[in-house]
């Protein structure tokens, strides 16, 4: 496929060979989620804390009448928390039939990443838990960790968010 058609396709929002990802940043790192799983992006608003839940569950939010749990992705990954800025957003994703929000530092871009530019998740043994990654993608000189949000937000039973330990701290 020549570059022109590919650009045209991209303008028309058509994925070529691969998928589109919404990318966002946590600190210096870039992450991506499958764009088809994203319902909406909204600015950060205060949430209601849920009693007795793991710390990465930030709380719940009223999203036009439905109660949506909000996950603090930094805490989930065991990264230090930072103060929220005007860039802090909530990415609302659909995980199986559930709607959830992810608090991230900032959204950056929607990227087409071709299959050939995606390699499987690196193996760090038990030093770093990467089971929630589908793989890592390249775009220019950027590295994007592609999240498997099903794995990230649901445990194997497909229900429970109560996993106590932030995944990255499991080691």
């Amino acid at each position: 496929m020549d570059k022109e058609t590919k650009d045209l396709n991209q303008q028309a929002g058509l994925s070529t060979d691969g998928s589109q990802f919404l990318t966002f940043s946590l600190g210096d790192e870039l992450y991506g989620v499958d764009i088809l799983r994203v319902q909406e992006i909204k600015g950060y608003t205060a949430v209601t804390k849920i009693p007795n839940t793991p710390s990465h569950i930030k709380g719940v939010l009223n999203l036009r009448g439905t109660i949506v749990p909000i996950v603090e992705l930094r805490t989930k990954f065991g990264m230090p928390t930072i103060d929220y800025t005007t860039f802090t957003v909530i990415i609302v994703v659909v995980v199986q039939d559930k709607v959830m929000g992810l608090v991230v530092d900032a959204v950056s871009d929607v990227l087409d990443i071709e299959k050939k530019d995606i390699q499987s998740a690196p193996d760090f043994g038990n030093q770093v838990d990467v089971t929630f990654l589908n793989g890592v993608g390249k775009s220019g000189d950027k590295l994007i960790s592609l999240l498997d949000i099903d794995r990230l937000l649901l445990d194997s039973a497909g229900k429970d968010l109560s996993k106590d330990v932030p995944v990255a701290a499991a080691a």
Binding site: K49, P51, T53, I67, K98, L161
Partner: protein, 722 residues
């Protein structure tokens, strides 16, 4: 199944369920009044509707099975066969089978073909044994042919008939032809081919687009059969073939399978080969055993690692379960048109009020303030009324939940060898659809329990000067803001000594404990508790009573027991009218707002310091007019920041849950309001101590306190260590 009817299928399933209920109810009643013709007609009509619509949607298995039932019903209706217990039983079993057939179409689950086939044969047998004298009565000449159907001179013909398109235009009725064929011998495997049927818009109602296939077993020869088609022979495509060898039968089997493959999932290739006799079952099994899963092959060829395959499989399973969940999730509700009309009127009023308000707002002056306030009052009234009406849409009479019990009790009494009559009352009591759906299982369990444990066998009853027939009474009525359902039996009552002995054996209580009756009865709700001497398949496995209690409590209700030895037992379920809205007290703890269900609040007090005592330095008790009640600080349970830690400054709410009282400490009472319960489970999971969430006036989320859960956390600590 991707046909144009897809959107109407849900309606079919709803309707079929209703018709099935009518059939079942009717059959049960028919057992009592076998000669009630109106009843038979009613049953027949419902069965007929199921057949008709099932056929329309192409659910051939359902249609064919119902057809067999209908044949028998028709004979009963025409008085050619009397309703006997065995026939009623057969029909009831067939109704069950039909239910599973329809269910399998709906969910795509596997069909119990064995039962279906057995029942089909039984139905056919019951109809056939009866149709013969009937035929003999109507046409003498043919009778010997009918009764000779099983003679050695019988031959089976496969007939395929496509009538000419002008059939109806000439006023001819294909049914006449079938009647005539039936008189010749036994007509089986009649199939209707609707493949030539055009789109509805293109149908010429006077044209015949149908064709039939059938098998006729008779001792007559081919010319006689052909004569049956005499009037319609012209322009017909007619083939009559004598079936002699097995091969031909196999042939017909293959074509039959391929014909039904359109609607049902096709049979695997191997099955068809075995059925047609090309390969033997063993050969097939061997071949299948050699077959490998795709994943295995890929791994062997090193195209994928086992982990990748495992991941892919897991994904597949997830998708399957998600798809399954979606399939079964759609439910609908039938609403009285009057309710909807009223709602539409109210919405009309709301729109008018809204436009008046916006009109007022666009050129508002201070002197119009009274008008504005008046409009606001109107708006509030409108909104409240609409809310009530919308809620009432979800309200159904509890009779729908009771409907299954006559059948259940009938089967139970037969199984347990007891004589039981069931008395239902209060069926018209309305309550929320979700509540009705959720109380079905607990109620079933209680009724089973009464039938199995509660009621005595007939001899024992007679010995005790009781009527031979035991009675189970189901009653529903409103009481305050709740609905009460009682399950009452006039059996032997709970056995105090047995329960005590069992409880001591299970280590639930110690031997030295002196318990009052009211403390003993709830023991039967403990998990694994059953005093039945022998385990029956009706009940007695010790699962159940605890499940009953848990289910009812999940609905925000309570179960209580009243029993008198020798006179019977009454279980009383108290349930909220609706699960969607509760009256709540909004309270504040620090910055958080919580809602406490009004039903559980007894009173609120501002305690004096000297009323609060501690036990072992920690457990706090508050003296409320002479009774010490345990005190729970809500901020400790919910790990939040309070404004006051000193009970003197705070407010204590005295709450009651399951007969226990507890004082809960909060910062401030904000007010009382109706709140709409929003599910936490929908997008998250159940949170201990929280019954649900709601949206507060400022758009934020507030939690509804689960009093029981809070008490549990206070006693046993947090389920998730924070």
């Amino acid at each position: 199944m991707s046909n144009d009817f897809a959107q109407f299928q849900d309606a079919f399933f709803d309707e079929a369920a209703e018709h099935l209920a009518v059939v079942e109810e009717g059959l049960l009643e028919l057992e009592q009044h076998p000669e009630d013709l109106d009843l038979l007609n009613k049953i027949f009509r419902s069965a007929h509707s199921i057949k008709g619509t099932a056929g329309m949607f192409g659910f051939n298995a359902v249609a064919q099975f119902t057809h067999k039932m209908e044949t028998l019903l028709d004979l009963l209706r025409n008085g050619q066969k009397a309703v006997s217990p065995s026939i009623a039983d057969l029909l009831l079993k067939s109704t069950d089978c039909l239910k599973t057939l329809i269910e399998s179409v709906k969910t795509g689950a596997a069909v119990d073909e064995e039962t279906a086939r057995r029942l089909t044969t039984e139905l056919a047998a019951a109809s056939a044994s009866d149709s013969q004298p009937a035929v003999a009565g109507s046409t003498n000449k043919v009778a010997p042919a009918g009764s000779a159907a099983n003679c050695s001179g019988d031959r089976t013909y496969v007939i395929a008939w496509t009538p000419p398109e002008w059939l109806f235009q000439r006023g001819l009725d294909p049914l006449q032809t079938f009647k005539e064929l039936k008189n010749l011998g036994s007509l089986t495997e009649v199939t209707l081919d609707m493949s030539r049927l055009p789109e509805l818009a293109d149908i010429d109602s006077e044209k015949c687009y149908l064709s039939w296939g059938m098998q006729l077993t008779t001792d007559k020869d081919q010319t006689v059969i052909e004569s049956a088609f005499e009037f319609v022979r012209e322009d017909s495509a007619l083939s009559i073939q004598l079936v002699e060898n097995k091969g031909a039968q196999a042939q017909s089997l293959i074509t039959e399978t391929s014909a039904s493959a359109e609607t049902e999932s096709p049979k695997p290739l191997g099955e068809i080969l075995v059925e047609s006799g090309v390969v033997s079952r063993e050969t097939l099994d061997q071949a299948l055993a050699q077959q490998k899963r795709v994943g295995q092959i890929l791994v062997e060829q090193k195209a994928a690692t086992p982990q990748q395959v495992e991941q892919a499989l897991q994904k597949q399973r997830q998708q399957e379960s998600a798809a399954q969940a979606k399939k079964t999730d759609t439910t609908s509700i039938r609403v009285d048109t009057a309710k909807i009309d009223k709602l539409i009127n109210l919405v009309g009023e709301l729109v008018i009020t809204q436009s008046m308000l916006s009109d007022l707002g666009s050129r508002f002056e201070m002197r119009q303030l009274p008008v504005l306030l008046e409009r606001m009052v109107e708006l509030e009234r409108n909104t409240r009324e609409i809310q009530e009406r919308v809620m009432s849409i979800r309200m159904l009479p509890i009779g729908t939940a009771f409907a299954r019990f006559p059948r259940l009790v009938r089967d139970l009494s037969a199984k347990a060898g007891k004589k039981i009559q069931l008395v239902l009352s209060g069926e018209e009591t309305e309550l929320d659809k979700t509540v009705i759906e959720s109380i079905g299982d607990p109620l079933t369990h209680l009724v089973r329990n009464s039938a199995d444990h509660g009621l005595e066998p007939p001899e024992e009853r007679l010995d005790n000067n009781k009527p031979e027939v035991g009675t189970i009474r189901l009653n529903a009525f409103h009481e305050g803001g709740t609905i009460c359902i009682t399950v009452e039996d006039d059996g032997r009552g709970l056995n105090r000594d047995k329960i005590l002995a069992k409880a001591i054996k299970q280590g639930l209580i110690s031997e030295s404990e002196k318990l009052t009756d009211d403390q003993i009865w709830p023991l039967v709700f403990k998990p694994g508790f059953s005093t039945a001497e022998k385990i029956t398949d009706i009940s007695g496995r010790g699962v159940g009573m605890d499940v009953v209690k848990r289910n009812i409590e999940n609905l925000g209700g309570t179960v209580s027991i009243k029993t008198r030895k020798g006179y019977g037992t009454t279980f009383t379920l108290k349930l909220p009218l609706t699960l969607a809205i509760i009256d709540g007290m909004t309270v504040r703890v620090g910055k958080e707002t919580y809602i406490i269900p009004l039903l559980s609040i007894l009173e609120s007090i501002q305690p004096k310091a000297e009323l609060i005592k501690t036990v072992v330095g920690k457990g706090e008790l508050i003296n409320v007019r002479g009774t010490y009640i345990p005190m729970v600080r809500l901020y400790e349970v919910f790990a939040s920041e309070p404004e006051y830690t000193d009970p003197k400054e705070a407010i204590l709410l005295i709450l009651e849950t399951e007969g226990e009282r507890v004082a809960v400490m909060v910062d401030e009472i904000l007010g009382q309001q109706q709140v709409v319960i929003k599910s936490m489970e929908q997008n998250f999971r159940k949170v201990e101590g929280v019954a649900g969430a709601t949206i507060l006036g400022d758009g934020r989320v507030g939690f509804i306190v689960d009093v029981r859960g809070v008490l549990e956390i206070a006693r046993h600590g947090h389920p998730v260590a924070a």
